[in-house]
Every structure is written in C-alpha cells, then in structure tokens.
Symmetry: C3
Subunit: 329 residues, 3 copies
Amino acid sequence: MINRPRIFSLDDTQQSVLNEHGFHGQDILSVNQFTPASLDYIFDVAEEMRAMVGRKGGADLLQGRVLSCLFYEPSTRTSASFIAAMERLGGSVIPITQGVQFSSVSKGETLHDTIRTLEQYSDVIVLRHPEKGAAAIAAAAADIPVINAGDGAGEHPTQALLDLFTIREELGRLDGLHIAMVGDLRYGRTVHSLTQLLTGYDVQLSFVSPEILRLPLDYMNQVRDAGKTVRETYSVADVIASADVLYVTRVQKERFTDLAQYEEVKDFYRITPELMDRAKPNAIVMHPLPRVNEIDVRVDTDPRAAYFRQVKNGMYIRMALLAAVLGKA
Amino acid sequence: MINRPRIFSLDDTQQSVLNEHGFHGQDILSVNQFTPASLDYIFDVAEEMRAMVGRKGGADLLQGRVLSCLFYEPSTRTSASFIAAMERLGGSVIPITQGVQFSSVSKGETLHDTIRTLEQYSDVIVLRHPEKGAAAIAAAAADIPVINAGDGAGEHPTQALLDLFTIREELGRLDGLHIAMVGDLRYGRTVHSLTQLLTGYDVQLSFVSPEILRLPLDYMNQVRDAGKTVRETYSVADVIASADVLYVTRVQKERFTDLAQYEEVKDFYRITPELMDRAKPNAIVMHPLPRVNEIDVRVDTDPRAAYFRQVKNGMYIRMALLAAVLGKA
Amino acid sequence: MINRPRIFSLDDTQQSVLNEHGFHGQDILSVNQFTPASLDYIFDVAEEMRAMVGRKGGADLLQGRVLSCLFYEPSTRTSASFIAAMERLGGSVIPITQGVQFSSVSKGETLHDTIRTLEQYSDVIVLRHPEKGAAAIAAAAADIPVINAGDGAGEHPTQALLDLFTIREELGRLDGLHIAMVGDLRYGRTVHSLTQLLTGYDVQLSFVSPEILRLPLDYMNQVRDAGKTVRETYSVADVIASADVLYVTRVQKERFTDLAQYEEVKDFYRITPELMDRAKPNAIVMHPLPRVNEIDVRVDTDPRAAYFRQVKNGMYIRMALLAAVLGKA
C-alpha cells in the first residue's frame, strides 16, 4: 500500500500510473474489462475516497467537470450514489433521472443522438437503460466516457465492483474465502457479475437456490473452468456454518408457477437471527438491496450485517471510477 | 445582538455556543422541540444568513456536505427552498423530488431502508411524506439529522419557524402583538404549528373562520392553558382594525357540504385593498402560499403584504437549520 | 477582438462596457431585443466561454448565484444546456424540470405567484412554458432576470442566438452568405426566429418547403422589407450547389391531410451523403434537433455536419447570457 497513487495530489509519476491502468477516457461497460490488478487499483483509490470523505466530506478534484446522469428507468439508489459521488468530488451533475421518456425520446430521437447531444454539455455520462446493449451503443456514440449503470438483462458493473470491494474491505482479503450466493441465482444480475469477478480469485463458491432459480449453466461452467470448488444446495442451512460471505437476493413469489412449491421452500433462503447464531463470528451478510423480507430486520443490528456499509462502498467505488475515467482523475 | 455567534467564522467559543443549543446532529421534527431561547438562536443565525446572501449570494460553510432531498409527494416551494438553502451554503443536493414512488419504494422497500440507504450518501436528509409519523420513523432509522419538511397531517416545523421569524423580522418583536389567524383553522397545519409556537410569547390571538373550520379544541385549550387572550369570530372585519398580523389561509369550497353556506361566508375571509384601508399602518398580511383568491392580487403592492418576503425568510431559516444540525454549522 | 471585454476578470472599464450593452438585470424574452452590436457582444463572450471551458472546464464567476430552471413541459436538451451552463460558471441550479403540474400549479397557483416565489430563492429564472406570452408574464412578475427558454408558439430566443452564433463560428462571418431554410417553415419556431435575426445581416435567403409548410407571409414580408434576396422552392436540390448553410427541420407526416402528397415530396427535404456530394466544400448542415430521418445518419461523419457542434454552442451562448444578465457577468 505504501506506493499506491495518492489521487488527491497527483504528480506526473502518479498520473502515469493512473494512465497505465488505462482508465483515463475509457468507458466502464462490463466486469470483463477489469483485471485483478486494475480492480486492486480502483479499490485502492476507493479507499482513499473513503478516507477523504471521512476527513472533510469532499474534495475539489473534479471541479468544473459535469456528469450527465441519464436514467431511462428510475433507480433512486444508483442515481443518488452517482450524484453524491460526483458532488463529493467537487463536480456538477445534470440530473436526467425522470421522464426521459416524455422528452426528446418521445419525439423519436435515437439513443445515439441523445448521447451525442449530452456529451456536448458534459465530461462523462452515466447511463441506466432497460435494454441490454444500450450502454455499448451509448459508448460507441460518445467521445467522452460512458459508465454503464445497468442495461436491462445486460450488466451493472459498478454494482459488481462495489460488491467485491465490500468483501475485501470487510474481510481484508478475497483469496481463501467461502462465498455463498443465496436466493434467485437465475435472474439475479448482481449474482452473475459478482460470480464472474470472483473467478479471478482463489475462492470456494456455494450456490443456494430453489431448483427453478439455479445459476444458469454458462455461469456455472465459467466457474468450473476456472477451477473453483463449487457446491450447489437448496438450503442456506447447508452452508451457514462455513460461509464467510452470504450474498443474499430475493426469491420472488412471481417466479413460481406452483405457489405451493414457493411456500414450501421460501424459508430456506431467509436470513434470521436464529440462522446467524450458527454463522461464523466474522461472516458477513450482503444484499444488493432493496430487501423485502429475505433478511429479517432484526439482523440489521448484527455487526455482521454488511448491507448498508455495502451501500456506502458503492459511493466510494463510483467516486474512484469517475476520478479514474476523467483522468486525474 | 452584540455577542451573538457569527456563524461564518466560528471560533471555539462560538462553536460551543452553537453546541449548547443542542442542534448539532439533531433531527428537526416538531415545533415542540424548540424553546424561545433556541428559536432566538436560530432566528439570529437566519438574520446572519440574510446579511450574507445580500452581501455575496452564498458561502462555503457546507462545502463537501450533501443533502438528500427526499420528497414522496411534490412540493415545489418547499423543495426549492431547501435546495437553494443548501446550495447557497456551498453544499450539494441529491434531489429526489419526483417519482420516488416508481423506484425502490415500488419494489417494496420500507421507508426505514430507504433512509438507511440515503444516509450512506449524505450528511443530512430532508423528508416530505404524506403520512403522519413518517419523519419520526426516518429519524429513528438514520444516524444523520433528519429534517421534517411535512409529514401529512403531522407537522411542518420549518414552515412554522419561518412564519414566526417573519413576524419578528417585520414587526421587530413578538411580545405585545395581536395576531389574527384567518380562514381554515381546522385543517390548516401551518396555523396549528404557528399557534403552538406563539403560546410561548405574550401575544393576543384571534381566530377568524367559518363555524365548520374553527380551530380544533385541543389547540384552543393549549392557547387558553397558556393564559393567552383569545377571541373567535366569523369575519375578518371584526379584527382588521386592531390586528398586527393577519395570517391568512384558504377556505376551500370542498370543505362545505352546503355550498350555499360557502357562498354566504366566503367573502368574510378575503383580503382586499378596501379591507386593508381599515388595517393598522404597520400591520402585515401573511400567507403560507399557494394563494388562490383569498388575497386579492391588488394587495400585493401594499407594503404590508409580507407573504413573498415570508417565502424568502423560509430560505434563511432553512439555511440556519441546515448549518445548525451540521454543527458549524 | 483585441479590446473585447475579458469576462473572467472584469475591471471597471470592462464592467461598464458590459453594462452599456444593457444586459445586467435584463430579461431575455425575444430576438427582437437584440441589435447586431449586442449580438456581437454576446457572441464574443460566448467565444470566451468556449475558450475557458476548453482550458479548465469551468469557472467560479457565478459562485453563490442560483438559477431556478422552471420547465412546465419537458425539454431535456434545453434544460440540460442551461443547467450545464450555470454549473460550469460555478453557480447552482434548482431543477424544476418535472412534475411542476403536480405541485403548486395543481393547487391553483398562478404563474405570477410561482415566479414571485422562486425569485425569493434565486438570482435568475429560466422558464419553459407551453403557452405563448408566458415568458412576458413571468418577466413582469419578477424583479430578477427571466430567460425565455421557449413559450409555446411564442419565441425561443436562446435557440435563435445559438443558431446565428453557430453560423458565425463555422463560417467566420454572417455577411455575404446564402442561407437555405429547409423543411417545415410554417410551424418551425426556430426558423422564424433565426430568419428575423438574419434580416439584420447582408445575406441571401432561400426557403425550401412543401407548399403547405411555406414560410408565413408576415415573416416573408419582414425579409423582403429588409431588402434581402429571397427565393422559395420545393426541393433542396435547387439550392444545394450554392447554399453556405442548410438549416434543416423536420417535415412531419402529421401535417399532411393527403398522405400520398407527403410520400411524393418527403425526399425533397432529406439530407443524404449523395446530396452532400453536390454541396459546397465549406457549406454546413444545421438542425435544431431532435432529428428523426430528415438527415441521414451517414451525414454525421461529414465534417460539414455542424448540428452537434451547434448543440455545444448552445451551452456557450447560455453561459454568456447568464453571465450578462447577472451583471459581471
């Protein structure tokens, strides 16, 4: 850690370190573009951001820079996180988080043209869009960096990064851990992206889900091809004693055609204080939020409940990415 | 006034004065939490804010601080006031003033979880919510200060503070005044809160309303228990000659089951230039706005029309409160 | 250019130059309020803004100043442009760009009262409204400057200014040019305003449209009264070889009662690479955007396609206007 770049007063050497990692001017579209080394770099910057926020709330690193926050579907959590990240770095935001569908778009403008318009006003664009591939279209249209904040069934790479960062922050390492994914592993985009990232580390993975919500085969094959130890099971009870991380997602009633089946299995994926009594003393519980009842609110006061700290890490990760793609960032 | 704290360059003594008043880190939920002394303190700070804005527009007192402005129902006036207040102090805002209902909330997230999420990004939360008690729930959930910007039939304390501050600013004092509340005294939340605050001062109160919109008994009893001189009447004509303050609210047609009755009484509560001819030369007319036709627009040019100055005072009060709860504010 | 005011460090002389042009404290409501001299002044300031943004992204010229961005109808492009303009000058924004109709307005508040309220919080108001004349009503209500960002069938003066500025920036001059307006010249507000501004210069004008979308007679008479050389034609092919500027707008199918007629003429107004092969090497193609298919996307890579640079000029013009009306700008 001694020689890690200090992003708040970059000298030429540090600037070149940053440039070497190739983020300046780049889009953030997919977890696939990250290597363990570039992840380490972003995580180190995110830690600096945390320290800076703790010390003085914000910096003026991105003063004079403007972020277009373009959300074609509402996502309060994600847009708020990016807005806070930009503002805490001294930058400004054009918030286009509501009603995009009523404006230019309804006049028939293509995403390409909307992006080319917004890049005239801004230095970086954060895009949320309901359609897979929208982020790539936007990135192709824009000369300025585009950050994918979720494109439908596609990716949501900043969520995956903050998830991985949280594990590293909470447990001090990634290698050697047993990580259990719990709940809806079939449709859960965050599970897929985090699983992909984890294949770069020496981890043991467990996948806990109902039969109809098992991890899709191609993700499972990626994990196996990477030589990870994998276990699949129907109940979180099977992994609770050995897991270092419980990454919980919601099992939605709507996924079941046979409601009797839902009733039968739903409690297998619910985290309660009673279940936590059997967990390791240093295990952590994560959740991408919003949560409904898959984590009992009584668990919130358990120091091992990491999901709100995870939210905060999202802001630090986004600060790091904004600084990085803007090149000094 | 000589020794009042100068909020823009706080030394240790001044900081401790501020802390003594107990605002640092506190929630602003109800008018009941204010004493005449703490009101005086906030009003003094608000006066400083006015002077600062007049001199240079803004300050950098809250630079690096972030306000989450979370409005579950739209209120342009109130949200704009808080946003301007935060921005003029050099802070930043996450504006969540539209469509909250379409986002996390629609995914079943509780207010508790939404608040716990937003507090990760921000230093203070301003909440508007249609349900009474929502502000208290939010305050219990958050470690950072929550300011109640109206919770349904509950309270809207910053409105009450700006109302009281306006009287003090316009007339130079609170004690010794005759204050007439006019219009809908039954449902008018601002009337109830201001009435409660006024019981702490040596004032004479008149309540002018139709029979069906009289001040509820519990508020009336509070006033009487505080030993105030009280008068109730059906027509503003009865108080116009002696009132120092006319606090006007709208008598809504919808409140009447018998429309003939509405037609009969509506003009008793309407402020016109002709009526103002009979008012004291230093009387003021206030209104929480929006106004429809309960104040004739011709009154706007009367120097005694204080309602737009009252709006401006709202910004100063909110600046003072934001600075105070953020502890140096 | 040597003695033009340097807006970022105004000395007293420069300040007085700015004041002489009469923008300080003024509203921007119509293109009619501009003279060629005052346009030159604004364009010079806009060029300074471009240079400043290129050099360092933003300035702190309007630090402590607050813009109320009040949009009664959504227009992502225009609101984003004003927000970016204000933020790049170090000012802050109250964004009221969605749902105005659900708030105060739905409670029956007049535009006059809404404007008088917002002026308490802010230093300048940008208004978009669906009704012609709304900007004038707002300007009459407010003591602070109001900038018309489009009032229905009325005007949209900042668009006209950015259009004219773009011609000057792209071609180095206004006098001596042949400018062809193409498409819907009847309903196109931007065409009308730009045409009016161009009557102040030594230009040749061509109007290319279907019969039912010809330029209204009063605008045509203004142009003729100003002694301009004018040509009207049905097809852009007739002007392509000699035009210096093609100002393209959309021919909407909905305007035609006889769809066969639309099908017959629509291609007369479509800009394609094949058409551009016959255009002058230094000609430029402009469009107020959004564009649908009236300009082939393959034209985008033609260096003569100026429409996205035109968007960027909109930000510089708005920066210049905000600075000018705030008097230091």
